[in-house]
């Protein structure tokens, strides 16, 4: 095995390594440590790669050339070389641990898990098998009759389809290829109740399932529960659509709410104020009406008073005339001389009445008074 093929940077260390012994570029314990003129320490491969990219120290960015790098003091090299590591083949099964600088020797001389060339056919073989006969010859599998290389036989036996396997439940020996299928029908395989989705906690061997199901309350209730579940999903769906619709409607209600919520009170208030206005109007109107009635009454009274007086005047006049007619009639009956005189002066009764009877005098004077009054009116 070539020593150059050892990947020191991926070695696994037995304990965590002080970070002062680690390279700041690869973050692993230093391999072939070097230090720079600015006194920073790196693995030699790491700093060389970094300098190919940029001619500065990766830590402090000062200018740095390849010739500014020299091997680190031997003490540092010893510290990292003596760190204990696992064999790089530990994953293959090697349990060897040693100081790092001994790994190379272990791999080239001792490690059982290093591939070597077969002495007979030249094929790859692990060191632990290299001393025996050639393991690359074909051999017939005694179970499935396939031809397999001896070196692969161990792996084949784990999956040989012809090999009998034991059922882990009923201990029955059957061919491995059928084992999986058997598992689905094995009477002793542990299964859970077919109503476990509904919550039945039972689990037991398959052969006991029918016995359990005869008494399983979950199995009895299964149709009911299923119907319920269906109904529930239906209701949930409906609920969701309804909620969506409510959400759509809510903004609209909110809008109308802002204009209408006071409506009842406001309307009542409006009615009340209107009523109050009307009541006031009514009061005013009735007052006016009263006034008008009084005025009307007074007017009527004045008018009727005047008419009454006039009527009285007329009545007096008529009385006067009647008396005159009466007097004239009596004169006509008592004498004929006077008749001519009276007939000639019919338009002026008061003048012609002067020389008449004293009893009649006051009456005629009253008459003329009444006439004077009537003319004045």
């Amino acid at each position: 095995m070539d020593s150059e093929q050892i990947d020191y940077q991926s070695l696994n260390y037995l304990s965590t390594v002080d970070h002062n012994l680690c390279c700041p570029i690869c973050r692993s314990p230093l391999v072939d440590p070097v230090y720079t003129t600015c006194l920073h320490t790196f693995c030699s491969t790491c700093i060389n790669k970094a300098l190919e990219r940029s001619q500065t120290c990766p830590v402090d960015r000062t200018p740095l050339q390849a010739e500014d790098v020299s091997p680190a003091p031997i003490m540092i090299a010893n510290l990292v070389n003596e760190l204990a590591v696992l064999c790089p083949n530990s994953e293959l099964g090697c349990t060897f641990t040693c100081a790092r600088y001994l790994v190379e020797a272990h791999l080239s001389h001792d490690c059982e898990f290093v591939y070597m060339k077969c002495r007979e056919c030249g094929d790859k073989v692990l060191r632990r098998d290299a001393g025996r006969e050639c393991l690359h010859q074909l051999e017939e599998c005694t179970h499935c009759f396939q031809h397999i290389k001896k070196i692969d036989m161990e792996a084949h036996e784990k999956e040989c389809p012809g090999l009998l396997g034991e059922c882990m439940h009923c201990r029955l020996e059957i061919e491995r290829s059928e084992l999986k299928e058997h598992e689905f029908t094995c009477e002793e395989a542990t299964i859970s109740c077919s109503s476990s989705s509904l919550g039945c906690p039972w689990s037991g061997q398959r052969k006991e399932l029918s016995h359990h199901q005869a008494a399983c309350p979950f199995t009895f209730l299964r149709p009911v529960l299923q119907a319920h579940a269906e109904r529930l999903t239906k209701l949930e769906l409906e609920n969701r659509t309804l909620r969506k619709r409510i959400e759509q409607l809510t903004p609209r209600i909110n809008q109308s709410n802002t204009t209408e919520p006071l409506s009842f009170d406001e309307q009542a208030y409006q009615f009340l104020t209107e009523q109050e206005h009307m009541r006031q109007d009514m009061e005013r109107l009735s007052a006016t009406l009263g006034e008008l009635e009084i005025k009307q009454g007074m007017l009527l009274m004045n008018e009727s008073l005047r008419t009454k007086e006039e009527l009285a005047g007329i009545r007096a006049a008529i009385n006067g005339i009647r008396m005159q007619i009466h007097w004239l009639l009596t004169v006509r009956v008592h004498g004929t001389e006077h008749r001519h005189v009276v007939g000639g002066g019919a338009g002026t009764p008061s003048n012609s009445a002067g020389p008449s009877h004293p009893a009649e005098h006051s009456a005629s004077r009253r008459l003329s008074d009444n006439f004077g009054q009537g003319v004045k009116l």
Binding site: D7, I25, C26, R27, E52, V59
Partner: protein, 150 residues
């Protein structure tokens, strides 16, 4: 195992506060979420996602680091971060900015402090033109690092 893989394997352990590993299935691309730890109002309560692309020479070569979008995750506003996620950070330039002693954690922390110290809620000048030009490889861009405030 490559040099880059070996080196990357070493940091999967503890990450600094505010930084979480989201995806690291291979050693070609990693995604990490970062949060700004102080009360900077521009980034308060927000998480951003960084994508690291490594080549086989990491850490000799710088990784390509960009912000990426994800459901609920945006590209942070910053005068040195383009809206397509490209970050203008000296540390990430493959010239003399990057150093092989840098690491995923140190890059994350530098970007964290770049956000922490920022007070300008804006994109770099010419962001729209830059993004339209379709340049998504930060290595092809010559950044100007002339702004000492950020």
């Amino acid at each position: 195992m490559t040099f880059a893989t070996r080196r990357l394997r070493k940091i999967v352990g503890a990450l600094p506060p505010g930084i979480t590993l989201v995806r690291a299935e291979d050693f070609k691309e990693w995604q990490l979420d970062i949060r700004v730890l102080d009360d900077n109002p521009i980034y308060k309560g927000k998480t951003y996602r960084l994508s690291f692309k490594f080549n086989i020479n990491y850490p000799i070569d710088a990784p390509i680091v960009t912000f990426v979008e994800a459901p609920g995750i945006t590209i942070p506003m910053h005068p040195h971060i383009y809206s397509n996620g490209i970050i203008c950070l000296d540390l990430l330039s493959s010239g003399n900015g990057w150093s092989p002693v840098q690491s995923v954690e140190s890059v994350c922390m530098s970007i964290q402090s770049m956000l922490t110290g920022n007070t300008r809620n804006e994109r770099p000048e010419g962001d729209a033109d830059f993004v339209r030009s379709g340049n998504t490889n930060p290595r092809n861009i010559r950044f100007v690092y002339d702004d000492p405030t950020v």
